[in-house]
């Protein structure tokens, strides 16, 4: 069934490069089962964005709760529009400019896919909208790194430019059939649902932005306490639920590979969460709710690139390893003193890197056999080199581009909030509203 999955993905991506003979008008039948699941997955991945808004929103101070939630919500607006206009084309079109990104005039404004059905049996609209949700959540993840201290206007410009210059090319390299990372080694760099494209790129970009912008006022000497861990926990729950669309939907089918990804996702999230609270209990003496939520995320992030190739015991090991490594990364952050406010790098960057590398040791045997069949000799060390190269490319590309974008953008719109705005809070300074009216008699 691995073969089948591969074939589906390949043929599906051939579609993008314009083999018009495969389209619905020529008789490809819609697979209603697969289409129904992909529609559901699309909705589930979108659910992760308000989930993320709640997760981040609860972790900041009450004066910034709406501003932080808006960082996620405004991405649903900006990135959706960009995705429909050029994003899908840049990500899944044919190589242009030496393969920097893709382009296909048919995908411009999605105008040429009105009646197209892909070889996988789903309307291409569904696939493009499904992929669009990934494009939305990625820049929203970055916002966690510089929460509580950026101007809303500059943030809007930043995610728009970042999506076009960083996300779309990376997505093209990793997932388009002619992307160079998709074709690396025997069977490509393994990134099932976005370990490099989504989590590493967002985490690393967040780190660069957080260091460049500097810390919040008073950090780390003033205690900056979460305003509402209840909504943070609800957000983490929604993320977990939505992640089934994220990972299991990435099989672009409704069958065995979907079930494998779904199971790996559950196993990794659960073991990650447990590992985190156990570590924390030994280290700090308390099992915190936020620790449990962080463990869920670490496990989910680590299994994201791996969901298609690991079996449940591998997924559980990844979840546990990710929690251990992310926990240590956050301790190191506290020592180094840079202000990655909500640990976008600590969880998504570090967890994504760990998952993308460690998954090599848990690949199911059938996958390796096919790799050997394709290449002759192919060991896990060969694959590890491919994974490391893909991770290295994602890290350097995201870091360099983010740095350039911020430096240039800063010349036109001041990225960091002024000291007065930061003290007054993002809600009041940029939105003119209050998050929690009920705390005051009105």
């Amino acid at each position: 069934m691995k073969k089948r999955w591969k074939r589906i993905l390949l043929s599906l991506t051939f579609l993008f490069v314009g083999f018009t003979g495969l389209y619905a008008s020529d008789g490809v039948k819609i697979d209603t089962g697969a289409t129904a699941w992909m529609l559901t997955s699309t909705a589930l991945v979108l659910l992760m964005v308000p989930g993320l808004a709640m997760f981040y929103g609860g972790l900041v101070r009450s004066k910034n709760v709406l501003g932080t939630i808006m960082h996620s919500f405004v991405a649903m607006g900006i990135i959706s529009v960009i995705w429909v206009i050029v994003g899908y084309s840049m990500s899944f079109g044919k190589n242009v400019l030496g393969g920097w990104f893709g382009w296909n005039p048919d995908y411009f404004f999605l105008k040429g896919i009105d009646t197209k059905v892909m070889d996988a049996g789903i309307p291409e609209y569904v696939f493009s909208m499904f992929q669009g949700k990934f494009a939305i959540i990625t820049p929203a993840l970055i916002a966690g790194a510089f929460a509580e201290r950026v101007s809303f206007k500059a943030y809007c410009f930043f995610i728009a430019i970042w999506s076009i210059l960083v996300y779309n090319p990376l997505c093209h390299w990793v997932w388009a059939s002619d992307g160079f990372l998709f074709n690396l080694g025997a069977r490509g760099a393994i990134d099932f649902a976005g370990g490099t494209v989504v989590h590493i790129s967002a985490g690393v970009s967040g780190l660069v932005a957080a260091i460049y912008l500097g810390s919040r006022r008073g950090y780390p000497y003033q205690v900056i306490r979460p305003n509402n861990l209840v909504i943070t926990m609800l957000g983490a729950g929604l993320l977990w639920v939505g992640w089934f669309g994220f990972n299991a939907g990435s099989s672009v089918s409704s069958g065995l590979s979907t079930a494998q990804a779904l199971t790996a996702t559950q196993a990794a999230a659960a073991s990650g969460a447990l590992a985190w609270v156990i570590i924390e209990s030994f280290h700090q003496g308390k099992a915190t709710a936020l620790g449990f939520a962080s463990g869920i995320l670490a496990g989910l992030v680590a299994v994201t690139p791996a969901a298609g190739v690991v079996q449940p015991y591998g997924a559980m090991t990844l979840g546990i390893a990710a929690s251990i490594i992310c926990y240590m990364a956050i301790q190191v952050k506290n020592k180094l003193g840079y202000d990655d406010s909500l640990d976008a790098f600590g969880i998504h960057g570090v967890g994504g890197i760990s998952g993308a590398l460690l998954l090599t040791f848990f690949i199911r045997p059938s996958w390796m056999q096919e790799a050997v069949a394709a290449k002759g000799v192919w060991t896990i060390w060969n694959q590890l080199a491919v994974q490391a190269l893909a991770v290295g490319i994602a890290i350097s590309y995201a870091a360099i581009m983010t740095f350039i974008i911020i430096v240039v953008l800063n010349k036109f719109v001041k990225f960091k909030a002024t000291e007065d705005d930061e003290m007054a809070g993002l809600d009041r300074a940029y939105h003119g509203e209050r998050g929690y009216g009920m705390l005051n008699p009105s």
Binding site: D420, M423, A424, E433, N440, P441, S442
Partner: protein
């Protein structure tokens, strides 16, 4: 002993806190309150300007020995004022006599318990 009660803008809380800590006044109580003075503020919901009847403010309460009254008041005045000359809505400071102060842990009374 005096009880100093200051009603200030929410946005000035950080500044006032920092200034008080710098002046070595660290024992304070802070609460969210709503009230009505001379100030009129506007908030915006769905494109409509709303003027709330009661404006959210921060209340700071500090119990001090007489020797510290002036420095406390001066510090708050300096930090809570917006613009050079201050503006409507910056708040008020009330000073009232404090009859007794008792530390619950030890039961000690008076100036040393503050």
């Amino acid at each position: 002993m005096k009880l100093i009660t200051a009603i200030i803008r929410e946005v000035q809380l950080d500044k006032v806190r920092e200034a008080l800590i710098e002046a070595d006044i660290k024992r304070i109580t802070v609460s969210r309150v709503s009230g009505h003075g001379q100030q009129r503020i506007e908030e915006m919901y769905r494109g409509q300007i709303i003027v709330p009847d009661l404006i959210p403010k921060i209340k700071i309460e500090i119990a001090v020995n007489d020797a510290f009254v002036d420095i406390t008041v001066d510090t708050i005045l300096r930090a809570a004022r917006t613009n050079e000359n201050g503006s409507v809505g910056d708040g008020k400071i009330f000073i009232s006599p404090l009859e007794e102060c008792i530390r619950i842990r030890t039961g000690e009374r008076g100036g040393t318990a503050i």
